[in-house]
């Protein structure tokens, strides 16, 4: 079936795009005035240390060879050693990626599902006060400045009423305790995750709700909706069977398009909540001039976005028969 072909094409495209991103990054960092070491390294190092570092990073080699090494290193998982942690970068990434995936995937899926659901309902009240109220509320949520609302949530839910921990992902006592079972550990992570999740949910859901609402209104003008009504379907059947499936298609597309933007929000959330994810690590690495770690974190984030886009594409093809059955 053509779905396979489509999939194959998208995967190849992802490889190409990723390769180009890698190359651009390489060129930016190697052709920019001043060498990366002097940009990244603090002044406390002795000249010998610097020379060692230059050799270690292969910066004394010709550019094309550095490039080849750079590509090869990526595919062999060799990203060098973090200046700050003094450990292999790949190890750090390996630790940071899962928490990000957990938080980000949960938040995106929840926001999209809730947005589609509520958008579908609210479209039915077009022009009524409920509609205006919800629309404005969604707009407000959507434009809340994320780090600020995160700080407010921490201040209120964690500091004032103490329902949630202030930051982090785990309580050390529980994880050190050999008696703690899987449930206790999972519960602990969930307890830490709820507040960041809530932040992302509040900020992202509004956008999806608004898109779904206008998409529903658009769909309701279609002739097949008129046909469905003429057939004697109840309003509920018209909405759920005929309007919603079509109307959610553009929302799925926009989820894909807004993924990169949500990643920005994800990184900010991780930073404010000290969630040990890869976004926070990138910001941390940039602040600390940890060049290998920053590069690798960024590449992995880009990869996550690309793969997430692929998943959205597959979902879309699955929902729209016009694509999978061409």
């Amino acid at each position: 079936m053509n779905l396979k072909k489509l999939l194959l094409r998208r995967i190849i495209e992802i490889f190409v795009v990723f390769y180009i991103i890698m190359t651009i990054l390489f060129l930016l960092f190697h052709l920019a005035p001043g060498d990366p070491v002097s940009m990244m390294v603090d002044l406390t190092l002795t000249p010998e240390d610097v020379a060692l570092l230059v050799a270690q990073l292969g910066l004394d080699q010709p550019l094309w060879l550095q490039y080849l090494y750079y590509i090869k290193n990526f595919f062999t998982g060799n990203f060098g050693t973090s200046f700050h942690y003094g450990r292999p970068v790949i190890e750090i990434i390996g630790q940071r990626l899962p928490p990000t995936l957990l938080l980000f995937t949960t938040a995106t899926v929840l926001a999209a599902v809730a947005g589609i659901w509520w958008g579908k309902l609210i479209a039915w009240y077009k022009g009524k006060p409920v509609d205006t109220g919800v629309t404005i509320f969604a707009l407000v949520c959507n434009t809340l400045f994320l780090p600020w609302i995160a700080l407010l949530f921490i201040w209120f839910f964690a500091f004032r009423i103490g329902w949630f921990p202030l930051s982090g992902m785990m309580t050390p006592e529980i994880w050190v305790n050999p008696a703690a079972g899987f449930l206790a550990k999972a519960g602990d992570v969930l307890h830490h995750m709820l507040l960041p999740l809530m932040t992302l949910f509040v900020v992202n859901t509004g956008a999806y709700l608004l898109i779904m609402r206008s998409s529903m209104l658009e769909t309701l003008r279609e002739d097949y909706i008129l046909t469905a009504r003429a057939k004697g379907l109840t309003e509920r059947q018209v909405r759920n069977r005929h309007a919603a499936p079509n109307a959610s298609l553009p929302v799925v597309t926009s989820v894909g398009l807004s993924l990169a933007f949500s990643v920005n929000g994800g990184a900010l959330t991780e930073t404010v909540f000290s969630w040990p994810g890869i976004g926070r690590e990138l910001i941390f690495a940039v602040s600390n001039a940890d060049y290998p770690l920053a590069m690798a974190s960024f590449l992995f984030i880009a990869l996550v976005v690309l793969v997430a886009n692929l998943i959205v594409d597959i979902l879309y093809a699955y929902l729209d028969p016009r694509i999978s059955y061409e």
Binding site: M39, P147, L151, I154, L257, F261, I283, V286, S287, A302
Partner: protein, 314 residues
Amino acid sequence: MKAIAAAGTGKNETRSFRMQAFLEGWSLFYENIVGRIGLYLLILFGLMALASYIPPLIDPMYHPMTGVDPDISYASAPSWRHWLGTDNIGRDIFTQLLTGARVAFLVGISAAFISIVIGTLLGMIAGYGGRVLDSVLMRFADMIMVMPSLLVILLLSVLFGQLSIWIIVMLIALFRWPAVARVIRSQTLSLKQRPFIDMARVAGASHVRILFRHILPNVLPMALLYMTFRVTSAIIVEAALAFLGFGDPNTVSWGMMLQWVWKTGHMFQAPWWLLPPGICISLITLAFYMMGRAMEEVLDPRLRKTKGPDYAAS
């Protein structure tokens, strides 16, 4: 040509399409509560930005960056002297807030304007040129679009060392044009299918003439609409950068104020310091966003109506 046109009948139906569309659109816009709230909010912020020049003239202690109240060296609560209190070294928060409005407008509008110009030009060229040019430009746009712009700019800040406000504006503009280009391209594609473009070609019009005399006026309303959305995203990116400590150290922006509260650990003790900048960032983006949405609702049905006769005789 214009003089002759003006010599026609003096009735009000001689109003140009643009004028007519604008007046119609304006009344629709003003009926929309969302658009009206947005407009009022924007006027408020505009006044704030203008007012930001006043306090330093009253007393140098009200300078947002360098002004320090000699009597205060801690974060003080609102008082008659400092309407919104001071930060931990005794600078006036209200003054900083006013200056922040100025910076937000500056960053938002200039970054949005640049990205709209780039996006509109590239979108028109891609849509009109078609084929390889279109594919290359749009793949490039897609690539930039899948990159989280905030994080890319962060990474690039390493190259520039310290970011000045103008570099931030340029970087935001460079990473935010693709969405505009996409929309303008699809508009151009559908315009290209419209017979009046064929008619212009048949009349012998050059590509430049077609692009700028025939296509540009038709995509301009959409470009303006997208400008409001770009303004919000530019303000948010700048604020986030400043919040993370990568802002221009010579400028007070709301994001930077938030960073100071956060980094100095005053977020639990000084609500007068934590609340205002966050409210301002959220409200100004809300204002532009609301304007944009109201404009979108004005533009959309009109675009639809030109498709053909309505069956519902209105």
